[in-house]
Amino acid sequence: MQARQNLGRTIAAHAVLITWTLVALFPVFVIVVNSFKSRKAIFADPLSLPLPSNFDMVGYTTVMHQGDFFQYFLNSMIVTVGSLFCVLLFGAMAAFALSEYRFKGNTLMGLYLALGIMIPIRLGTVAILQMMVATGLVNTRTALVLVYSAQGLPLAVFILSEFMRTVSDDLKNAGRIDGLSEYTIFFRLVLPLVRPAMATVAVFTMIPIWNDLWFPLILAPGEEVKTITLGSQVFIGQFVTDWNAVLAALSLAILPVLVLYLLFSRQLIRGITAGAVK
C-alpha cells in the first residue's frame, strides 16, 4: 500500500516536471528546427524535423550577408568581458576592504553600496545619457562597460564580502608576520581562495549584461558598436517578412548563450543554492 502510494507520487512528480520541461524547451526547439527548413516547409509543417527533402540553409546565408553579426558578437564580447573584469576586480577589492578592516563608516559604506542591489540603474538613464554626451562617450563601448560595471558592483560586493568573511584570519595574519603587504595578502592569499565565489558572481553578472537591450539602445546604437542583442533586434525588425532569416538569426542568437549556460550551469546553480538564501 505504502509502496504503491509512493510510486504514484513519483509518477505524478515526473509528469509535472516533464510537462514544464517541455513547455520551457518547446519554443526554443521550434525555432532551431525550423531555421534549417525551406520557407515552404516552415509553413506547411512547422513541427516536423528538417528532412533532406526540405533542408535549406538560406536563412543563415541571408544573415551572414546582411547583418554584420560578427562585429556585433565581438562588441558584445568586449563589453561583457570588460565589465566583468571591472566588476570582479573592483568588487573583490571593495569586498575585501569591507570584510577585513574595521574602520569608521564601514557599515555605512556597506549599506551605501547595497543600495544599488534594490534600486535599478535604469532610473538614472536621463542623467547618464547627459553625462555621456558631455564627456563624448556616446556610441562607445566604454560607456557600456562603465554603466554595466556600476550595475554589477553592488551585488558582487555583497556576495564576495560574505565569502571573504569565511577566509581564515590565521592565514592572513601569518602572511602579515612574514612581512607581506596588504596588497599581496589580497592578491596572493585571499583572491585564490574565493575563486568559486568569483565564478558565481561572474555568471550572475554576465547574463543580464549580455542580454540587455536598454543601454545599448540608448547609449550605443551606432552600427559599429552595436551589441548582438541590439543587432539581432534591429535585424529581425527589418526582416520581419523573411522568415528564414528571422529564424536563423534567432537560432544564432540563442546558441552562444546556451553554450555558455550549459558550461556554467553547475556553477550558477551551486551559487544560487549556496549564497543567495541565508
Binding site: 509535472v16 516536471l17 516533464i18 514544464w20 520551457a24 524547451l25 526554443v28 521550434v30 525555432i31 509553413f43 512547422p46 513541427l47 571591472c86 573592483f90 568588487g91 571593495a94 576592504a97 578592516y101 551605501y112 543600495l115 544599488g116 534594490m118 540603474i121 535604469r122 532610473l123 538614472g124 538613464t125 536621463v126 542623467a127 547618464i128 545619457l129 547627459q130 553625462m131 562603465l146 556600476a150 558592483l153 553592488p154 603587504s181 596588504e182 547574463i207 542580454n211 537591450l213 536598454w214 542583442t229 539581432s232 529581425i236 534567432l250 542568437a253 540563442i254 548563450v257 546556451l258 555558455l260 549556460y261 550549459l262 550551469s265 546553480i269 544560487i272 543554492t273 543567495a276 538564501v277
Partner: protein, 306 residues
C-alpha cells in the same frame, strides 16, 4: 590604543575604484535624474527650476495623467500575474524537485532554467512567431487537442495582449523563484523533517505545515525581486510590441512609457524633463515597495536558526 594608528591608505585604495564607478554612474545620475525632474526649459530655451511643476503636469494634465495611470495600472496587472502564476508554479516545481531521491533532478533543473538565460529579444520574437496567426503553430496545436475555436491573435487583441505578455515573462523567469525556493527547501535540516515524519506528518501536509512556514522568508525575497523586476521591465514589451506598446497602449508599462517620453517616437519629440519626472515617479514606487518589504514584511517573518 594610546598611540595614533597610522593612516591605512590601503583601505582607501581597495575601496576607491568600486566607490568611484558606483557613485559616478549610479548614485550621482540617480540624484541627477531626481533634480532634473524639478527643472524644465522655458520657450526661450533657458533651464529653470519649476519645483513640482512637472509632477503637476504628469498628474494634472489629462494627456499625461491618462497615459501614466494606464501604464501604472498595466504594470500592476503585470505584477499581479507574476505573483499569482510565476511564484506558485515556481514553488510547486521547487517542492517537487527537492523530493529526496528524485531521478533526473539535475536535468529538469537545468532545462527549466534555460528560458531565464535567454535574452528578451529572443524570447519576445520566439513567442511572437509561435503565437502568430500567420505561422499557425499555436492554432495548429489547439486544433490537435480540439480547441481550435479558442485561438485568437492574443498579442494583437487589446483585452488579451498584456496578460499574454505577462505569461510569456512568467515562462521566461520561472527559473528564479524555482531555484531560490529549491535552495531554501534544501537548507531545511533533516532532523526537522524526520521529527515531522515521526509525528505522522508526510506528503502534502508536511509541505503546508512544516516546510512552507520555514521558507516564508525566501518567498518574501522572491516577491520583492519580482516587484522590482516588474516595475522596471521594458525589454520584453519593446521587443514584442514596439515602443508604442500596442494595440492602442494596452501593453504600455512604466518602462515603455519612460522610454517613449524620454526618447520620443515617430512625431513626438523626446522630453528629458518629463522623462526624468516619470523616472522619479518610478523611483518612488519601487522605493515604497522595497520599504514595505523591509519594514513591514521582513521584520514580521519569523526566521528560524538551525
Amino acid at each position: 590604543m594610546a598611540s595614533r594608528r597610522p593612516l591605512r591608505w590601503h583601505i582607501a585604495v581597495f575601496l576607491a575604484p568600486a566607490l568611484l564607478i558606483y557613485s559616478a554612474l549610479m548614485i550621482i545620475p540617480l540624484f541627477g535624474t531626481l533634480t532634473e525632474s524639478l527643472m524644465n526649459v522655458t520657450e526661450a530655451g533657458e533651464r529653470v527650476f519649476v519645483g513640482l511643476g512637472n509632477f503637476a503636469t504628469l498628474f494634472g494634465d489629462a494627456l499625461w495623467s491618462d497615459a501614466f495611470w494606464n501604464a501604472l495600472g498595466n504594470n500592476t496587472w503585470f505584477f499581479v500575474i507574476h505573483m499569482l502564476v510565476q511564484n506558485p508554479i515556481g514553488i510547486l516545481l521547487a517542492a517537487i524537485l527537492s523530493t529526496p531521491r528524485l531521478r533526473m533532478a539535475a536535468f529538469y533543473r537545468t532545462a527549466i532554467f534555460i528560458p531565464t538565460v535567454l535574452s528578451f529579444v529572443i524570447v519576445g520574437f520566439v513567442w511572437k512567431l509561435i503565437l502568430s496567426p500567420i505561422w499557425g503553430i499555436a492554432p495548429g496545436m489547439l486544433d490537435f487537442i480540439g480547441l481550435k475555436s479558442l485561438f485568437a491573435p492574443w498579442l494583437g487583441k487589446e483585452q488579451y495582449a498584456l496578460t499574454t505578455l505577462a505569461l510569456i515573462s512568467v515562462w521566461q523567469f520561472i527559473g528564479i523563484p524555482m531555484m531560490l525556493i529549491y535552495a531554501a527547501l534544501l537548507s531545511i535540516p533533516d532532523e526537522v523533517i524526520e521529527a515531522a515524519e515521526m509525528d505522522g506528518i508526510t506528503g502534502a501536509s508536511q509541505f503546508w505545515k512544516i516546510k512552507l512556514p520555514l521558507i516564508l522568508p525566501s518567498i518574501g525575497i522572491i516577491s520583492i525581486l519580482t516587484f522590482v523586476g516588474n516595475f522596471n521591465a521594458f525589454d520584453l514589451i519593446y521587443v514584442a510590441q514596439g515602443a508604442l506598446a500596442g494595440p492602442d497602449y494596452a501593453t504600455d508599462i512604466l518602462g515603455t512609457f519612460l522610454y517613449r517620453t524620454f526618447f520620443g517616437f515617430q512625431l513626438q519629440l523626446g522630453d528629458p524633463h518629463m522623462g526624468a519626472t516619470i523616472a522619479t515617479a518610478m523611483f518612488f514606487i519601487i522605493l515604497t515597495g522595497v520599504c514595505v518589504y523591509l519594514f513591514l514584511i521582513q521584520t514580521r517573518l519569523r526566521r528560524y536558526q538551525f
